[in-house]
Amino acid sequence: GESVGLHLPTLSVQEGDNSIINCAYSNSASDYFIWYKQESGKGPQFIIDIRSNMDKRQGQRVTVLLNKTVKHLSLQIAATQPGDSAVYFCAETGTGFQKLVFGTGTRLLVSP
């Protein structure tokens, strides 16, 4: 069946460090991948996305890398700040045009 998972449930970093959050996906037919950030008491918020015909995409302080060979997705956050503390979810397009399959999430804790 479809599944999207994360290797580390909690990641603790120091302010200023670079953070890397990983995600494994199982559906090789997925065409589109998204990272969401969810702060405490709020709904998920879109961060960055990438299509399957890309290996890398950069945003402001964030980079998403896609390795289709091993079905692996990562989110890199440069110069991590306390405001980056949140739970991060990866999601992939599942079967059916409306379906997003979400991972279980990784909590990022940033210490000052």
Binding site: Y32, G43, Q45, F46, D49, T93, F97, Q98, K99
Partner: protein, 116 residues
């Protein structure tokens, strides 16, 4: 800014009650979604709607129904609430199909429902 508003942040209901969770979006989006979020399970799709009066089952529709009488409003209904429906419920909307490159889902702040 897109705004997706859920009517309640916290709800406590008794087993067997009929529960309505309301969601309103202000960006004229075609698609609306209801997810539940549980620790260790992530977000799971309950129902979605791609047009007024249209609805499609998601992964876990059992025990739920939905209503979309107006484009901006999507209601989730628990016909007879049970304790295993205690969860965080998230509503989302998007302007088009979620697997389209320039489409993203916007989420509400969530409703934490406790069934006792």
């Amino acid at each position: 800014d897109v705004k997706v508003t859920q009517s309640s942040r916290y709800l406590v209901k008794r087993t067997g009650e009929k529960v309505f969770l309301e969601c309103v979006q202000d960006m004229d989006h075609e698609n609306m979604f209801w997810y539940r979020q549980d620790p260790g399970l992530g977000l799971r799709l309950i129902y979605f709607s791609y047009d007024v009066k249209m609805k499609e089952k998601g992964d876990i529709p059992e025990g739920y129904s939905v209503s979309r009488e107006k484009k901006e409003r999507f209601s989730l209904i628990l016909e007879s609430a049970s304790t295993n429906q205690t969860s965080m419920y998230l509503c989302a909307s998007s302007p088009g199909p979620l697997n389209r490159w320039d489409t993203e889902a916007f989420f509400g702040q969530g409703t934490r429902l406790t069934v006792v």
